[in-house]
Amino acid sequence: MFLARARLCTLGSRPKFLKTICASKILGLSTSAATLPRYLVKHQSRLFREDIFQKMSLKFKNAKRIEGLDSNVWIEFTKLAADPSVVNLGQGLPDISPPVYVKEELSKIAAIDSLNQYTRGFGHPSLVKALSCLYEKFYQNQINPNKEILVTVGAYGSLFNAIQGLIDEGDEVIVIVPFYDCYEPMVRMAGAIPVFIPLRSKLVDGKKWSSSDWTLDPQELASKFNSKTKAIILNTPHNPLGKVYTKEELQVIADLCIKYDTLCISDEVYEWLVYTGNKHFKIATFPGMWERTITIGSAGKTFSVTGWKLGWSIGPKHLIKHLQTVQQNTVYTCATPLQEALAQALWIDIKRMDDPECYFNSLPKELEVKRNRMVHLLESVGLKPIVPDGGYFIIADVSLLDTDLSDMKNSNEPYDYKFVKWMTKNKKLSAIPVSAFCNAETKLQFEKFVRFCFIKKDSTLDAAEEIIKAWSRQKF
């Protein structure tokens, strides 16, 4: 009896099963009080009422919107990498210090009394003003700080607000694979249908494999659009590939959005992290696109302060107002002191956009060196990296190593999951399996790839280098 009931409580994702399971008499198990655990003895008199039993199981069930959305790759892998002896190149978490002036601003602000209380729900006034000032440089129009900007709990929160505000049950949303893993569950939580299209690589012989070799087939992309398509989610620079979409590629997407009357949710958190020879383009600046695009940015990625959890959505007021409605019914407002500190930090860099000292310029320079070092390192051990044009991740094809993973249990997992677990355990180096960024059907296409994060201090990369060198010595 207890066993059956305990199983019922954990089967949140099997509603049909719950509805048909009945009370103990059908299961034919003993119901003597002596065999029941104390918790159930208290409720014994109610256990045998079938109607209550069924009702109870049903009542404590999760709402349908989160059915099947309970697993999460980060929870699983950050636990693995939590061992301090593991060199963690997994989660996109800088272990470098944020710029000094950013830390200083927050310190100064922590001493100001009035900033410990609520601020404006849609964004602290000085912050939305700073954001408006910064981004006006990129858009043709002035950006109304109150109506065309919303400050959210990280870019993650902006994605949530945009999807909850604009995507309805039954809508289709195009998601490009690989995708930052929250896009799929967020679309599903809104009751919508994700429609996937993979980036595909052309063959590369002899030359370095670049993220720019991965593209969308225009005809394939067009075939994904139809009258039910409410939005496409774009991520440029792209996580995990590091692809920076070109003007021409964005034009193809824009043309389809306009043709099919579709919205574009453009996740541009890595917008400043673009390497030599590449340029970040904002699809919202293309003709016909401002009025149908939400562009998302992140303080965490901009200033290497992921723990501040501040992001923003920029767009036309007829779209932003719906994200604001979501905001006033979810978190209402974001933390005040952090928003003020962010505003101050932005002003410092806005004043020196062309200066090499400006963090928007200095960080990509710093990271390009690290990127190149990672490419070299991965190649030296026989991994085939894809050189990213932007972002702070690099993915590599690990299949050439032909590692013996037979001692990894759970053979149902994709190859890269097993590989990462094996590598974490045996080489003390962690990464993230790229199939985590794929939907069920496309996992096999990407299961040979593993993602490394390189926004790490030199000593971390040194430690990774040690491991990788030792590894390559072992092979030969």
Binding site: K59, N62, A63, I75, N116, D168, S227, P287, G307, T336
Partner: protein, 463 residues
């Protein structure tokens, strides 16, 4: 702007030109500089936003910022958090630079640890920081997460009126159906001021609200706006109905430390049979007078919390690290001082009770009749006399009297309060349009400024 509805020509896109060249920079091409609105053939916004886009606060906040007004409306302190909390935040932002990065999704470990131990003792439960605690973006975020996790299309949620205004739209956004039951005044027989304890639920009426579709009941104690602190007996009534009908109780206890006159705050989760069906929500903002930190939490059984975690990881995922670190350190300090005179949780209600009493005396002097709150930051006052003397204050056609009164008071008396009809369901707003809510969680100087305004008001009343 209503953009819903289908257009006959599915392939057409209608572009409305809004003010040519508005905010345009010189030299930009025509195509790009015209701010075009979008009228999609499909409904633009999701249906879950239907009926919840209106925000009653915006109007009043705007009015208050315009004139020389003493703001007794919004519920936040205008004095500083306690020194130890400010220091904790300063420590968090100037110490280990890794606190600038992500922490654990479900809560910064030292915070979930102290919450589990601190509240474990209070709730009489052995709480696991990983299973029984979830840190959220304010109690507001906790409420949202709870509704989204448990309320489904068609589920009924019992809301006790007057209610903190977000409960209704959050229920609607989750597809639920709010079912309202009002606290009703059993007035004192003498001419004494009523207490929030005189506002009570009718047990028969409450019982009648439960149906087989009732998924949850949302309780708020101490209550905003009334200040009512539900007694053990009242909670037992609610608890027995929740158990009888197998309903989840979401209890918003953000003002749990702000109880006066020796009143006891009772957490319904401590009642027999309730832990396993209760989500207890708390707020660092209200606990440490630091509403701008936006740190809240939910405490409850794993069987319920796991669903909230699923919502959390698919909505905001992580909460800011440093504010959590500051709250953890603040709770650690309070744990050491718990129950002693030096505890903030002892000192704060004592200090605020004085503010409450000051405000009550001052309001009486102009003929307002405050209801003495047993707890929270707020009191409501009956404006019936003004309603009978000045029934025709300017306002929109169907606008409840209390809203017109507040606007009049802001404009003419320089005082801001919040109309209590905001805290009622639409059908009941006309029944409860003769109360306004004042916040007394204010610095002495603010209360003195209030006195000046009230003195002038009193003078104006003299014939």
């Amino acid at each position: 702007m209503a953009l819903g509805g289908m257009f006959r020509n599915a392939a057409a896109i209608y572009l409305h030109l809004v003010g040519p060249f508005r905010g345009k920079k010189s030299g930009a091409s025509l195509a790009r500089c015209l701010h075009q609105t979008l009228v999609m053939t499909k409904q633009l916004q999701a249906r879950r936003l239907n009926g919840i886009d209106h925000n009653p606060w915006v109007e009043f906040v705007k009015l208050a910022s315009e004139a020389d007004v003493v703001n007794l409306g919004q519920g936040f302190p205008d004095f500083a958090p306690p020194d130890f909390a400010v220091e904790a935040f300063q420590h968090a932002v100037s110490g280990d630079f890794m606190l600038n990065q992500y922490t654990k999704a479900f809560g910064y470990p030292p915070l979930t640890k102290i919450l589990a131990s601190f509240f474990g003792k209070l709730l009489g439960q052995d709480m696991d920081p990983l299973k029984n605690v979830l840190v959220t973006v304010g109690a507001y975020g906790a409420l949202f997460t709870a509704f989204q996790a448990l309320v489904d299309e068609g589920d009924e949620v019992i809301i006790i009126e007057p209610f903190f205004d977000c409960y209704e739209p959050m229920t609607l956004m989750a597809g639920g159906r709010p079912v309202f039951v009002s606290l009703k005044l059993s007035p004192n027989q003498d001419r004494e001021l009523d207490s929030s304890s005189n506002w009570q639920l009718d047990p028969t009426e409450l019982a009648s609200k439960f149906t087989s579709r009732t998924k949850a009941l949302i309780l708020n104690t101490p209550n905003n706006p009334l200040g009512k602190v539900f007694s053990r007996a009242e909670l037992e009534l609610v608890a027995s109905l929740c158990q009888q009908h197998d309903v989840v109780c979401i209890t918003d206890e953000v003002y749990q430390w702000l109880v006066y006159d020796g009143c006891q705050h009772v957490s319904i989760a401590t009642l027999p049979g309730m832990w396993e069906r209760t989500l207890t929500i708390g707020s660092a903002g209200k606990t440490f007078s630091a509403t701008g930190w936006k740190v809240g939490w939910v405490l409850g059984p794993e069987s319920l919390l796991k669903h909230l975690r699923t919502v959390h990881q698919n909505s905001i995922f992580h909460c800011p690290t440093q504010a959590q670190a500051a709250v953890a350190q603040s709770f650690e300090r309070e744990q050491l001082h718990f129950g002693q005179p030096s505890s903030y949780f002892v000192q704060l209600p004592q200090a605020i009770q004085r503010c409450r009493d000051h405000m009550i005396q001052s309001l009486k002097s102009v003929g307002l009749r405050p209801v003495i709150p047993q707890g929270s930051y707020f009191l409501i006052t009956d404006i019936s006399e003004f309603k009978s003397k000045m029934p025709n204050l300017p306002g929109a056609a169907d606008e409840p009297y209390d809203r017109r009164f507040v606007k009049w008071m802001i404009k003419n008396k320089g005082l801001m309060a919040i109309p209590v009809s905001i805290f009622y369901s639409v059908p009941h707003q006309k029944l409860f349009d003769h109360y306004i809510r004042f916040c007394f969680m204010k610095d002495e100087s603010t209360l003195q400024a209030m006195d000046k305004k009230l003195q002038k008001w009193k003078d104006d009343l003299r014939p």
